[in-house]
Symmetry: C2
Subunit: 221 residues, 2 copies
């Protein structure tokens, strides 16, 4: 149970502030690019709110979006938020309950969101969000019209302050516990895509795009 | 991109306040019990912090734990926090980029954590956390000793104020878009367990417990 599994005693901890090295930046980008959803933490009425939402990245800017009517997004600009992306990679089974843990990759970003008003950047941010969910879809589907764009708020969060934590590998038990007659190891966890399910109202004769079928085929989101 | 995919226009939204019906309570328990990690939102220095961590449930109490030295947990008791558990179930591919979305199940809990001091409840809470990660492990592994227990803080969060949001099913497109020559449907996503990986230091002759092997075999975490 290693206190808590996900935020302490990581095997590898890359803490990245401003102007840190390329290695840390690459690790941050890798964790973000491998994800589909983030958890956005905002403060509403002095209480934290943790909202699962989709996101996209362009360079060192993270984009999230929401309805222009959503209070949590309306109030977000100008106040620092926290965005966390977590990949669960395995359950770590130690010889003691205390050394149970998880293998994971996690990025935690602190930043003050900026409401995107430039039409070009807004489109680019939305494109990044849709492409993060399903690559190739921005060009395949109907682009947003003026009304849809007006109903959508896009926030930009700089990746200046972020930390990456990664735990990998077997359990780390107390030395005297290695002689116990208890199985120990890792139960790997991963996300997979199953075969695409066509919309019941899909017009006949439209095949599943190859790039979507390929995602399911290799099983790796 | 339905603004944002994960927090608006859900197909099914169950909002549960105090003393709501059994149906909502069951939905909340089901979402929590199917998860392995949550995202815990706390306020530290007036800034939200979103921490991935493990958790357990006993009845209508959620338990999380951490090092007694962790500031985010030390400061949590007495101040309202938010805990979110999210399952990503599918990528929803609409005929317009605007109606791209995700299928998901999500529980959002607001509550004021109580630091657990009663030794019996503390053990029960820790057991719930370990069992949530890997059922059967509490009895299989060495129990925590006095020193380990002293180093571990356990917080109890009541499930009185919680909401469950679920989106399932195909995209919901604009009526005029159904005639477009664009594939639409859902790309299902799920978590699977792979075959357990023994600790390199595992003593010879200790087999993988059947309950752990079974998790990998059926592929459903």
């Amino acid at each position: 149970m290693s206190q808590p599994p996900l935020s302490s005693t990581p095997r590898t901890a890359l803490h990245r502030g401003r102007h840190r090295g390329v290695h840390d930046r690459d690790a941050l980008h890798a964790v973000l690019d491998a994800g589909r959803i983030c958890h956005l933490g905002v403060i509403v009425d002095d209480v934290p709110r943790v909202i699962p939402t989709s996101y996209g990245r362009i360079g060192d800017t993270l984009y999230v979006h929401g309805s222009t009517g959503a209070r949590s997004l309306r109030e977000a600009p100008g106040r620092e938020v926290c965005v966390t992306v977590t990949h669960l990679d395995g359950i770590v089974l130690g010889r003691s309950v205390f050394h149970h843990s998880v293998n994971y990759r996690s990025a935690m970003i602190y930043g003050t969101p900026r409401r995107v008003t430039d039409p070009e950047e807004k489109l680019a941010g939305l494109r990044a969000i849709v492409e993060q969910l399903a690559p190739g879809q921005w060009d395949a589907a109907r682009p947003p019209n003026r009304k849809e764009l007006a109903a959508t708020a896009v926030l930009a969060i700089p990746l200046d302050e972020a930390s990456v934590k990664i735990r990998q590998g077997p359990p780390v038990d107390e030395e005297e516990d290695y002689s116990l007659n208890v199985w120990a190891g890792v139960l790997p966890v991963r996300q997979v895509f199953d075969q695409p399910v066509p919309d019941p109202r899909l017009r006949p004769g439209i095949p599943v795009p190859r790039r979507i079928a390929a995602l399911a085929a290799d099983g790796e989101p």
